[in-house]
Symmetry: C2
Subunit: 544 residues, 2 copies
């Protein structure tokens, strides 16, 4: 059914108005609405309910999703790299085949503009294709081969060969702020499916219709490429349903993007299971931007326009939004603050993702403004519609910052707090006091790096990604990307949720000792039929 | 002081009788005994207290160990690969320099024989040297480079480069059963130090004197190679001290080898911290050995001598001890059981590591023998001394095994339980019911693998290492080894605690975006001065 829908719509290029939202859970490709509780999708721009009522999954439906995922795992993990790559590409094609309907529904549910969502769709399809490339290249299994040494004394060395295999079914919780790229078919789903893990997505209640459309596209791709149906399910639900999903014994890992509170709750739940499972929760971060004294003096004001743009991007609703600017109260600061304040003042308010996020932003900002030593330097243009977030620039001295951990809490929205230290020593103390971050950005001259020779090393202890200049918003999907970082930026700093290295979150190594070649996985066979880079007897050998 | 001791002793080739045991904690190279609680070392062969009284660490001493580790981290992580490799090699040299004294003390504390402990010392030094080689080779940092594409539209691609960096100070809990190779300077310590993490070891109370000697050797190596003193500490303690150590905010990971109960307790504690940290606990495993029907019929009896040797190795006190033999009640079973029973009957009892382990073995075996359907087929020779464990062979039908999870619990010692299924279908159900394991071993003919085409894939879901024939005891220290597996074999199946891939447990990736070459770590600089394999623009490039 989903298949037919996808194909049909791709020919007709339907608009959202012509596309019926059914509001059901998608369990292994079958639509299901056995429950009695429903939620609505709300347009944040006008508070109106959008069409469709979404039925929360029952325990039976969640169990069915988990059990079919478990069943599908057996077949799915044995698919070839080519088959899995074909599946990922087909998902991208089916998403594109949804046409303008997907963009229109996402606009209505999130208040995000068309161009942004079209860009995000491109990113979503792009990262599915990038994981397909990773599968076809094949080296990600990290094959290691230590050949037998029967003549070794006192004991012969056995033949030992290892590679990564998938963990099992993964529960994924999409983010509100990227309804496509970090949601139903987002990076977490793409990386888990690439690794060979079935996926069950809990749709974000802030964009359930968008989620339904994308789930239909994935189900269509499942059918088109002959994958086992249980390889993908999507359910609607709240806290209760999320808990059931994470506690189901068939689930072997969790991917999450959202708040610290929700991410930590899932982590705690997963750790308390009879069999604990890993949770990759990408949570809060204030993404400090450091402007060092010599740079501040000579070029500080240059940073203001781009920094303001980064603060305002997506109405400040980026995980990598620069919520903290750390600098010194030295020459150049007034000019920098003036320039940034002027930018902020002319920034228009924008519709936030939902009423709850808008209220949390206003409350968070109000709370921040009343903390000891905090001054509001500038505010953006007033809201002209419902649920609009207004820009804000605040300032505090480092002495206050060092005494007040609340100043490190993420205020999700278009504001930033400038922390001005008195000197280098205080700057070092601010760095030492920083919580874990997704990113840290540094502006410095050659003179600054002579004066602060340790700063890069120190910031590497605090963040998953360091930027030399530029702005932290915009996370390139590439092999080298690290979108992660020490707690509370994530619950597991050992990984990334963006880029192809995200595949390593959903695998574990397994070794084969003294196996005959024909019984080994292709990646470990002597003649390297998979044609991949392998470590053989301690030496990395590219394919012949 | 430690340095002088090491050097001096290496010249004199002291015996244990001439070496004074001080019983103190070693905090960043300084001996310290501020507490009032003491424990003794007991010789399990005669129950006698050995010389030395060991003072448990106080909270102040544990805090000092953690704080000096935190301080040392800054300097230690910046040491070059050559410097860290030199440190690891020096530890091995200092351990060898302890001479016979170390072996004698370890024999007295563990009841293990001289040849075994000399072999284990060789393994310990060998794995330190192997990690040194890994550091010098350098590719373990997994450098990934995606170069800038300034001309890309709609947005230019930034330059992004990532590599692994160390997590921070690591708490390590050694095992009772390998007083050298999985203890103070064992695999966990070697891999954490290699990764660039300071280490605090909690000495195992079953071999505190051996631990003290090895800690002195490490402290000597710290001084000799000019490492920051806080890079290594060792404390004595029990549950209370262990809890304090794992909860200290400076600690960023935990390595553990021991029981399920203790490992899970540490895991739970670490997960409940304000900042949760990873726990690599290697715990219980019964290491099933599968003998498939055609192999059983044609060659089953051949396996008996080697299998008995594996069951008896180290008086059954190996993590990889084959505690379960899974086969079918088909032709060949009587012959196999007879042969194995005869081997078991002639096996001598052996001194176990301590009175507690011996008592737990006897109780566990007695409990196992009374489970429904379990029959004792053979017993080994009677004990002739204190704390000796006697071999045992038991049998149960698969129908009982499938109904009784207690039959999967590890009985740590020289016994094995044969589970006989009726047919292939029952064998599959036994596999499905198996808990996570460190190893699974398969004996099968070509006919068997035609009849059970899925068995390797199914067992790969259950264990970290699969063996085609042979025996699971004996874990080769090599690049491809995986000593790990799904819970409850470990708390984190995504890693190994033996072999050079263990270094990945103590690192996290960090990305550098748009950095000038001179400010990048050597591993990421454009000209590849480190001369390592790197992934550049999606392609693995060996050093030029």
């Amino acid at each position: 059914m989903s298949r037919a829908a996808g194909t049909c719509f791709s020919l007709k290029k339907p608009t959202y108005a012509t596309m019926k939202i059914h509001g059901k859970n998608n369990i292994a490709g079958a639509l299901s609405a056995e429950g009695s509780q429903q939620i609505e999708a709300i347009n944040p721009a006008n508070g109106a309910a959008l069409d469709g009522r979404f039925t929360l999954a029952t325990e039976a439906e969640i169990n069915r999703a988990a059990e079919t995922a478990q069943e599908a795992f057996s077949g799915y993990r044995r698919k070839t790299a080519q088959q899995r790559a074909g599946f990922l590409r087909a998902i991208g094609e089916e998403i594109l085949a949804l046409g303008p309907a997907l963009i229109e529904r996402a606009m209505a549910e999130t208040g995000l503009p068309q161009a942004r969502l079209e860009g995000e769709r491109g990113r979503t399809v792009g990262q599915l294709n990038k994981f397909a490339d990773t599968l076809l290249e094949g080296s990600w299994v990290q094959a290691r081969i230590d050949r037998a040494q029967p003549e070794r004394t006192p004991l012969p060395r056995p033949d030992v060969r290892s590679m990564y295999i998938p963990l099992g079914p993964v529960a994924i919780f999409g983010a509100s702020n990227f309804p496509l790229a970090f949601s139903v078919a987002g990076g977490d789903t793409a990386s888990a499916l690439a690794a060979g893990c079935p996926v069950i997505v809990k749709a974000h209640p802030s964009h359930p219709g968008t989620s339904e459309l994308v789930a239909g596209a994935i189900a269509a791709a499942v059918e088109k490429t002959d994958m086992p149906p249980g390889v993908f399910s999507m359910i609607h639900g709240g806290v209760h349903e999320s808990r059931m999903l994470v506690q189901h014994p068939a689930l072997k890992a969790v991917g999450f993007t959202g708040s610290l509170k929700a991410g930590r709750a899932l982590f705690d739940l997963a750790a308390a299971r009879p069999e604990p499972i890993p949770v990759y929760a990408e949570m809060g971060s204030v993404n400090p931007v450091f402007i060092l004294p010599d740079f501040l003096k000579t070029r500080g004001a240059e940073v203001a326009p781009g920094l303001c743009g980064s603060v305002m991007l997506g109405v400040g609703q980026f995980c990598t939004n620069p919520g903290l600017v750390i600098t010194t109260d030295t020459p150049g600061l007034p000019g920098f603050l003036d320039a940034l304040g002027r930018q902020i003042q002319t920034s228009p308010a924008g519709t936030m993702l939902n009423a709850g996020i808008n209220a949390a932003y206003e409350n968070g900002l109000a709370a921040l403004a009343t903390r000891p030593g905090v001054a509001v330097l500038a505010e953006g243009r007033e809201a002209t519609g419902q649920n609009q977030g207004k820009a804000a620039l605040l300032r505090v001295a480092a002495t206050h910052f060092l005494q007040d951990e609340q100043l490190q809490e993420e205020v999700f929205g278009p504001s930033t707090l400038v922390v001005a230290g008195e000197n280098a020593e205080q700057l070092s103390r601010v760095i030492a006091a920083l919580h874990g971050q997704l990113t840290a950005t540094i502006y410095g001259t050659e003179q600054d790096f002579r004066d602060f020779p340790d700063i890069i090393d120190l910031l590497a202890q605090k963040a998953g990604r360091l930027l030399f200049g530029g702005f932290p918003t915009g996370v390139e999907v590439c092999d080298a990307m690290v979108h992660g970082g020490p707690y509370p930026a994530t619950t597991d700093s050992r990984s990334t949720s963006v880029g192809t290295a995200a595949i390593f979150r959903f695998v574990r190594p397994v070794a084969f000792q003294n196996f005959p070649d024909r019984l080994l996985p292709e990646a470990l066979q002597e003649e390297n039929p998979a044609g991949i880079l392998r470590m053989v007897d301690g030496v990395f050998l590219p394919p012949a």
